[in-house]
Every structure is written in C-alpha cells, then in structure tokens.
C-alpha cells in the first residue's frame, strides 16, 4: 500500500517539491527536476516584455516537465500584492494552487504573520488552494488554518541560508499540535541530512531550491535530496530507536570469554 502525500485532495508519490530558480541554465534545471523525481515544481512571475524570449524559453522548459505547477507570490510585501499576483498566476497557469509568500522584512525575507493571514483568508474565499510559506509560530499556523488553509509550509531557516532546522523545538511543537495537517518544511535547508531529519520528525514533505541549484552538481544533489527525504520518511514510519544517555552494548555481554569466576581470572 502506497504511502502518498495528500495535498488539497490530490495525491503525490514524491514528498520533495523543487524550485526552478537559480540554476545555471534551463537545461540544468530540467535535469535536476528529472533526478529529483518531484511531482510539484514552484515557479514565479515577474515583469517581462512578452516578446522577451528568455522568459519564454524557461517557461517552455518548465512546462515540458509535465509537473504540477505551484506558482509563488515571492517578493510580495503586502496582502494586496500577494492577492493580485495570485490572481495573475491563476490566469496564466490555470491552477488555483498558490504558494503564498508575504515577506515581512527585506533582510531576513521572513514571512509576515499579519500579511499572511490577511491574504490567506481572502485567497481562500476566492477559491484558491493556498500553501502559505510561514514561520514556525504555532499561533500563526493556527490562524492560517482558521483562514481556510489546508496545508502549511513553515520555514526551516531564512531563504537561501542553508542553516537547516533552526528551531527544532517550535517545529516539533507544530508537528505534535497539528497532527492532521500536511506540513511541508520550506526554505533554509542546505543539506540532505537536514531534509532527512525534518522527515524523521514527521513532516510530510520538503520544499527547497537553493540547496540544489547552488550545489556544485545540481542534478546529483537533487537526487541526493530525493533519497534522503525518502529515507527520512521511511525512518519515521519504521519508528526510530529511543535515544539513551548511557551506553548499552550491542554485542551481548553474556558468555564474554576470559572473565573467570575463580581467583585466576583476569577480571
């Protein structure tokens, strides 16, 4: 029986969502999308002259993957901006899925709790399927659920840093308190081991971009992340051993040779 990821009623084999920016070329992006075995790719919208062929080339490349598209509202600083960009995405991509980003600070690029909730409520009303990129704040997450979101995407650490799971306490809290909600760790992951750990903690999926695109060999790294994410999921399902503070022998101690019970013994 397959262990599928369910988001807004759709099922996916892969638990790895991959971004399409920052690659050295469209070919490098395509190769990474292929080796990642992802089912969903993120992409964005930017001002471009429709005659500009570069944009068209990338778009054709992304389209050719046949993956489900998850357009984002990257860079939006207010609910209004994000809502309008979401509408434009829906028209272009013919999908009501939206990765909702409302940035609250130009330097750490963190999600804005206030703008997010406002935008999520409106977008849900307008029939969007909203996947908000949010912080690991439980109250914010609860508000986003109250606003109608059925999936949440808390950050690991700031976008592009590779610092991994910055606040494991908060992330564990989210997982424990929202056991029924699909939770996708989005942003800040830099190494497959970090993605693996997120999955071991019970997160449902991982979304990243920089760690693949900025690897020395992106396609190989995409494959490494895919394997690590699957490994982490499998480990979560298989039930990790319980950590101990004190050592415990693996090889049995009973029958240890050379330990004698008469005075001649050496121990």
């Amino acid at each position: 029986m397959a262990d599928l990821l369910t988001l807004y009623g759709e099922q996916f084999q892969s638990r790895f969502l991959l971004g399409t920016a920052l690659y050295s070329s469209p070919a490098a992006m395509l190769e990474s999308v292929a080796t990642s075995a992802c089912d969903i790719v993120t992409l964005g919208l930017r001002r471009q002259n429709p005659k500009d062929r570069d944009g068209q080339t990338l778009w054709n490349a992304i389209q050719s993957t046949g993956k489900r598209l998850l357009p984002n509202t990257a860079g939006c600083k207010s609910a209004k901006e994000a809502i309008n960009l979401a509408e434009m995405s829906r028209e272009i991509f013919s999908t009501d899925w939206i990765k909702l980003e409302v940035i609250g600070d130009d330097y750490n690029l963190q999600p804005c709790p206030f703008g997010l909730v406002e935008a999520a409520a409106e977008l849900n009303l307008r029939g969007f399927k909203v996947l908000p990129y949010c912080t690991d704040d439980l109250v914010l997450c609860q508000r986003l659920l109250d606003a109608g979101c059925q999936v949440l995407m808390p950050w690991g650490s700031p976008i592009g840093t590779g610092l991994g799971l910055m606040n494991k306490y908060n992330l564990k809290t989210l997982r424990e308190r929202l056991p029924q909600v699909p939770l996708i760790v989005d942003a800040g992951l830099g190494a497959p081991s970090q993605a693996c750990e997120a999955m071991e903690m019970g997160f449902d999926a991982v979304l990243l971009n920089t760690a693949v695109a900025k690897a020395a060999q992106p396609a190989a790294m995409a494959q490494a992340f895919a394997a690590a994410i699957n490994a982490g999921r499998a480990a979560y399902l298989a039930g990790l051993m319980v950590k101990r503070q004190t050592a415990s022998p693996s090889t049995p101690t009973i029958g240890q040779p050379f330990w004698h019970q008469h005075p001649k013994g050496n121990s």
Binding site: G19, T20, A21, L22, Y23, M29, T42, L43, G44, L45, R46, R47, Q48, N49, P50, K51, D52, G55, Q56, L58, W59, I62, P71, N72, A74, K80, E81, I83, N84, L85, E87, M88, S89, E91, I92, F93, I159, A187, L208, N209, T210
Partner: protein, 67 residues
C-alpha cells in the same frame, strides 16, 4: 496623448486607448502573461474594454523560475 507606466517604463498612447492597445505595442495579446492595472489584477477578458487614463500603471508579468 496619455502617458502610462508599463513595467516601470513610460509609454505614450493616443487618448481613449485600451489595455489591448497598450499591449499591442509591446507584444502579442496571447501568451503566458498576465496584467495588473494600477496594482489590481486585470483579467484577459477585460483588456479590450478597459480604457486607460493618464498616469495609469500597467504591470505585465510572465513566468520565471521560482523557489
């Protein structure tokens, strides 16, 4: 003539121009793009009716790689 800001560049159009008219200057009316007029999404279905005023801003966006 009315001046509008299209993707942050000023262009001039005859009075009474519509969004369709503006788009015809910069590219095809079909394709992977979408439009916001004065920061509000404008559906494709309204390009032909929507007339422009002096000082309007038009944003044309198209797909890019994203994270």
């Amino acid at each position: 003539m009315l001046k509008i800001l299209l993707n942050n560049q000023t262009i001039q159009l005859p009075p009474g121009s519509t969004v369709s008219d503006a788009l015809s200057i910069v590219g095809p009316s079909e394709g992977p793009f979408a439009v916001a007029l004065n920061d509000e999404f404008l559906p494709k279905s309204r390009y032909k009716q929507q007339s422009l005023n002096d000082g309007d801003t038009l944003d044309l966006v198209a797909p890019v790689g994203g994270g």
